[in-house]
Amino acid sequence: MSEYADTLTADLLRPILQTSWRFWTLAFLLACVVALGVGAFAYQVDRGIGVWGLNNPVFWAFDITNFVFWIGISHAGTLISAILRLVNAEWRRPVTRCAEVITVFALMIGAMFPIVHLGRPWLFFWLTPYPSERLIWPNFRSPLVWDFFAISTYLTGSSLFLYLPTIPDFALVRDKTTGVRRRVYSILALGWTGTTKQWHRLESAMQIMAIAIVPVAVSVHTIVSFDFSMAPVPTWHSTIFGPYFVAGAIFSGIAALIIAMAGLRKFLHLEKYLHPVHFENLGKLLLMMSLLWGYFVFAERLTTWYGNEGSEMTVFWQTQRLSYAPLFWTMVTVNFIVPVFILSFKRLRTIAGCVTASFGVVVGMWLERFLIIVPAISHKYLAYSWGHYRPRTPEILLLIATFGAMVMFYVLFSKIVPIISIWEMKIGQHPQLAHEPRSADEKATMWRTEP
């Protein structure tokens, strides 16, 4: 046991204690990509939203697509990890932290877009209920204000949910380092010494967070869907949007998690901890969500078509057969046909198979958000005012920069925090206690087995 704990600690702390030139090169390249996006944003602030491809009537396109997409990706972590914790699934142990990190960073990226997309982004704080000298409040009837509350709640909750189980690991790093690092980590560890009382508190806090974060996550994407379903726009004004968006969010979130885990496994050499069975389990989840997503799309399309309402059918045919049809059928292929095919066969449900399916799903879910937004507003009611949309360089750069930022944050985080929860792995490896819930006392003893 002790020998195992030693290699485990050494393996999982290696990325933190040793840094190669490869890391700096990668971080620099990613920072360049992010800088491109920052530059594009500065250019847009200087000139106006006109540098994007938006027009009348397509007032939202890449901006809000990115927003919904990244908020969707954020559903990977917290929701999956909370559910796996609540059902006490043993295989969750190496997975939870890398999932929770995705949530926090994807949320931060997604939550930027409501600010980035503003015509006058420097006045974004008017969306918040701050005590203004003119006593003006935001309009609480507006779904954008609901977004503000939903996202800030979720960001606070998921940050706590990420932080709590990291405390014992921070303490471990604190004890392994010297100098400035030791001081920083001892602040982060909040004076953790591993007493029984501390384990008690950590356990109940995590339990509360795991239960509380599930309804928060579900409500967040429902409220994001309200941005669309509350407006009288053909095909937006739909009751299915709440669950449809939540299902899509979890779907894209699992895909992002699989990709992130595969990257960690390869580049941080975590083959010993992230086993094919983890990918297989997540692959099964992805398969289930793919089927669920297919069902939602079918239900949404069928009711629109059967209802045969004029303005809705205009948008319907735009996506089904006309200008947006190539994107629509690409989406169906990479979101449904390919993943269902790959993930249905055990032989294909390998790491490579799961990652392939996941890349498709990430692309497909971005397209899904785009196809919900743009065809509807470009073909809204009066035919005279219809329009088309073509993206221009600044918004494409912004899109690329969001992916760059996600990877950069992830890479930097895995340099600072053990990306696999060390103490949870140790507890999971204890021979007698591996398959039953443990008392705080026992946890305290086990944690102390490490010198």
Binding site: L54, R141, S142, A231
Partner: protein, 224 residues
């Protein structure tokens, strides 16, 4: 407001008048080709039938000043809001440019300042001093010439009387050579607009969407 589609000739004088009255910028050919032309009032043109039996229909479309306006409820900052007089006001200074109102508007009559406004020379010499110019990043739309409404109210109040029917006209109605656009007080049963409103020819645009628009279009009858 009542718009008589029977007498509208599609001359677009109202569009020009609206631009002049309200300091609406000219987008220029390149931006217009990108779909960024800005006309608070536009004359929609629809063809019915095939040549040689084609029939041309015009419909001037402007902000319908809805009673249950979708643009108002979605605005997070109250930049788009309902005044006590029942107008759909747009407060430019309060607008942060989410553009949500424009997406929610069923009539596509709200416009966004993609850049700071520009005017082709010599239009920059003929600004209306009663109307503010809008900066980059804010939404704008037809106000029913609120500056004229306010001026008429002030005049009437100083003379201690009510505003007379026909005394107050927005720029489009004033300019319309065919008098197809009629503006007035619906609460006054004697006003011209009330009589046309209840003439039986009236229909509202996209009434099924439920925004309760305040403009009535008189259906076309002549087969010319």
């Amino acid at each position: 407001m009542v718009v008589d589609l029977d007498t509208c000739t599609g001359c677009e004088a109202c569009v020009v008048a609206c631009h002049a009255e309200n300091n609406i910028p000219t987008a220029g050919p390149d931006e217009a080709a990108r779909g960024r032309a800005m006309h608070w009032l536009r004359v929609e043109r629809y063809w019915e039938g095939e040549f040689p039996n084609a029939r041309l229909k015009f419909r001037p479309v402007l902000c319908q000043q809805c009673d249950a306006a979708p643009c108002e409820s979605v605005c997070p900052t109250y930049a788009s809001h309902h005044t006590d007089e029942g107008l759909n006001a747009q407060v430019y200074n309060r607008c942060i440019g989410t553009r949500y109102c424009a997406n929610a508007c069923p009539y596509n009559v709200r416009f966004f300042n993609f850049y700071n406004p520009t005017w082709d020379k010599p239009l920059h010499l003929q600004f209306n001093p009663d109307v503010s110019v809008r900066e980059v990043g804010v939404m704008e739309k037809c106000t029913f010439c609120v500056q004229r409404i306010k001026a008429a109210e002030v005049t009437a109040e100083s003379e201690k009387r009510e505003i007379k029917d026909g005394e107050l006209k927005p720029a489009c109605a004033q300019t319309c050579p065919a008098s197809a656009i009629v503006f007035g007080d619906l609460n006054d049963p004697e006003s011209k607009v009330s009589q046309l409103w209840s003439s039986g020819r009236g229909e509202k645009l996209l009434e099924e969407v439920g925004a309760q628009p305040k403009i009535v279009y008189l259906k076309r009858q002549a087969m010319a």
